[in-house]
Symmetry: C2
Subunit: 490 residues, 2 copies
């Protein structure tokens, strides 16, 4: 694609075809060889600075040169989230359907801020979030037929932020904007840090963010009693409870907050109730897991990351809301340069008013392709297969008396740790910290950690699209081998 200055054709269709085919082959070859790479990148901080020039080239470089650099300089710095040996954090699924959707979205390259900017982008999003809402058996007031509806956000962080802002402004309209310092947010201490960040952004005072303590007695779920006590205390002190975030599948240990009880409390106090099911929500398309979101009927908003465990390439976070006007009142602007007949007549949805940024990509395309090219039954099997692999891993851990399971496995995450010879917790933490480091340093598997009630714990999350039983077994072998080495040196 090297071009002389006088003939730059940045969008020539035949050049696009040629370069696109080469890129497809590069990516397909990557997936063919993905198991050859260390899962966790083993480079040192600053490695790339030494490999690249200090400034952009004056003249074009060849495509082959760029591909060579990606192979030689970029891939070593990649942590391979799509590797079948990736078990860290939560998965971030790629799929052929999702990848094709991304290609089409990048190919059309529209910016769908309002309906008129590409009606198909807005309308497909509304329709597909209704489809997904029905798959999850969400109550109808989350669908587009009434006052609610779905919207694709980039991430769960943005989802919780926009609903927090909607709730904040709804309350401030009632109590006056100078009462911002009195607004109180509730959630468990297991809630994703995105909530804390949303509070920071929205100006909620840090001392008014109640991250209520949980422990193993509730399997790290929020206790309704603890919540009620906190709310009562705050009201007695003249504060204004306004937002409750419940989680289905917490990041540390997949704890499930009791939505039914929490929903009743939120309703009785008139508090906005948001349900974060970023990871575990996908499992709820299976009838046997739908119970975990029972109570969502009482929620005001519900969120699931299709980019985690639902074969939709990053980013694609599905948010449903019952009162879309609350969102629009918090986030709308109406500049002259965007005015148009359809918007002014209120005939259409303008998703710019449902999100932080103005511009937006055509993300519903990939979710639509995932739903159509795989279908509900395949997607259910996909989820069940990962959960079965996690059960399998859990059994392996249970059979080795040197290890213990630390929190109940609910979905596809197993929380476990290596036990020290003595009951010294500080030693146990050091041991597991070192074990994780030793395992990840092999490059053969990548898992992550958390801390629960002061215990350092290893997390193995099954969910990468290529993971099979042999990969889980291999990860377990590495763990056993490194554990033996560590215990042997004690």
């Amino acid at each position: 694609m090297s071009t002389r200055e006088s003939e730059l054709k940045p969008m020539d269709a035949e050049q696009l075809r040629e370069c696109g085919h080469k890129t497809v082959d590069f990516i397909a070859d990557y997936y063919k060889t993905i198991e050859n790479f260390p899962v966790l990148s083993q480079v040192e901080p600053g490695y790339l600075h030494k490999l690249l020039p200090d400034s952009a080239p004056t003249h074009p470089e060849s495509l082959q040169h760029v591909f060579d650099d990606i192979q030689d300089k970029i891939l070593p710095g990649i942590t391979h989230w799509q590797s079948p040996n990736y078990f860290a954090y939560y998965p971030s699924n790629s799929s052929i359907a999702g990848f094709m959707g991304e290609m089409l979205s990048a190919g059309l390259n529209i910016v769908g801020f309002s309906w008129i900017a590409s009606p198909a982008a807005t309308e497909l999003e509304t329709i597909i979030l209704d489809w997904l809402g029905k798959m999850l058996k969400l109550p109808e007031d989350f669908l587009s037929v009434g006052q609610g509806g779905g919207v694709i956000q980039g991430t769960a962080s943005e989802a919780v932020l926009v609903v927090l802002l909607a709730a904040r402004d709804k309350f401030l309209r009632k109590v006056g904007k100078n009462s911002l310092g009195k607004l109180v947010v509730y959630a468990s201490d297991q809630t994703h840090s995105a909530l804390q960040k949303a509070c920071q952004i929205g100006g909620i005072h840090p001392e008014n963010c109640r991250l209520l303590r949980t422990d193993s007695s509730t399997n790290y779920a929020l206790s309704p009693n603890v919540l009620t006590e906190a709310i009562s205390r705050d009201i007695a002190n003249g504060l204004i409870p306004f937002f409750l975030c419940g989680t289905v599948g917490t990041t540390s240990s997949t704890a499930v907050d009791p939505l039914i009880a929490l929903g009743k409390i939120a309703k009785s106090y008139g508090i906005w109730f948001h349900v974060d099911a970023a990871y575990a929500g996908s499992a709820c398309i299976c009838p046997e897991y739908r119970q975990y979101i029972d109570g969502v009927e009482e929620a005001d908003s519900f969120n699931l990351n299709a980019h985690k465990w639902f074969l939709t390439n990053f980013d694609c976070s599905a948010l449903w809301i019952k009162d879309r006007n609350a969102l629009i009142q918090a986030l709308s602007t109406n500049p002259e340069f965007l005015k148009n007949k359809a918007s002014q007549a209120n005939l259409v949805v303008d998703y710019k008013d449902w999100q932080i940024p103005l511009g937006r990509r055509f993300r519903s395309l990939k979710l639509w392709m995932v739903l159509r090219l795989y279908g509900l039954e395949n997607l259910q099997s996909y989820i069940r297969n990962h959960i079965n692999l996690a059960k399998h891993f859990e059994r392996l851990v249970t059979q080795d008396p040197r290890f213990e399971i630390v929190a109940p496995r609910v979905f596809s995450l197993v929380c476990f740790r290596l036990l020290p010879a003595s009951k010294n917790e500080a030693l146990a933490n050091k041991l597991n910290h070192d074990l994780l480091n030793d395992v990840n340093s092999t490059g053969k598997a990548f898992m992550s950690h958390t801390v629960l009630s002061g215990k350092y714990i290893l997390r193995l999350a099954v969910g990468a699209p290529l993971t099979e039983e042999r990969h889980v077994n291999a990860a377990w072998s590495v763990l056993q081998e490194k554990a033996s080495a560590l215990l042997g040196t004690l």
Copy 2:
């Protein structure tokens, strides 16, 4: 790719290759025929609902069926931003290099929230924003060598939001968080609505957002005197000026705020000075246009949308900041499950703390590919060619006495209108409103409008990658033809 439930292989490399090649051909064929589509979609609100089923399929559908639906049901609802006849809003460039970068990013599908999650994603972003910063001759304190640095945001809306939050929290740390209601923001009334939205989100009181009036006497640029007066008045009233947004290339008419003068005022009052060059910043890689950001030396932050006029597919908004710690202090969280050696030792950048969401795509890849596959000189020619086409269009308008140029053309946007027979402004507005509607309804060209000093004005922005002189001429012919028809019926 139809698969039986038992054999779902969502990431089989050979299936990926086959499906990827088909998708490349679909996109290449789209570009071959892009001029056949009406630029502005001509569908009616709700069109897609009638064409799609009510729920997701239980079983997989064939790839051909999905492609047929994209062709028959989606493309009619697309407004073709990549069409050479697209002249609305501002451009949103696609390019072969940018498209390949998107493919690679979607293919690797990593989530680069922190360095460890894929070191290459973080390090390439730092390096490439240094490259681009040098191309723009930004002062060194915006580069990564000192206390500053660059980061890719999704959009200019997110860029202005994060710096507003950084500034807000920096001030509140000094004056106390209960003074939020006293903080005042300054900008011209031509500033993008993203600033107003950022203020809403950050809890800045609407009555403390000074959108200072501009008019044709300054070509719609912010007057330093008007700014100084407003600041003095606010200080006298016990308010706290904290944020000034200057624009280089406003959305309505490419007005350029006087950065040098504004920077001096901001400095003398200790106000955070942000420069929004979302559209026009790209032109500043040409020595002859660099003057428009003279004064950026005094700014605290600077933003340019590479996805607008810089051949980098949406989204990719480059933000530079002098005091990266201000950003990090406003936006960081440090949950246990993300802790790792490199981050804890402060050896690396974790871009999660420079932005709203936690997750982030590998966007630097596409910008790197654009810079390398085109090179500085090609990119400069690309910009100059569009500006020359806009000059050409401006000459055409000037030669027809029925039209007038309404604001000076600075870059590649021409603001013009049709004059009515009498000097009736209401009639003029109606006439131009109808003219725009008539032109866009032909599907032969798409342009947009704005209002300046009460005048309804047409905007023709040159900048789509495929636009040539013949397309500009064709747009002008449609305008003349529709103008004649309208004037003939008066």
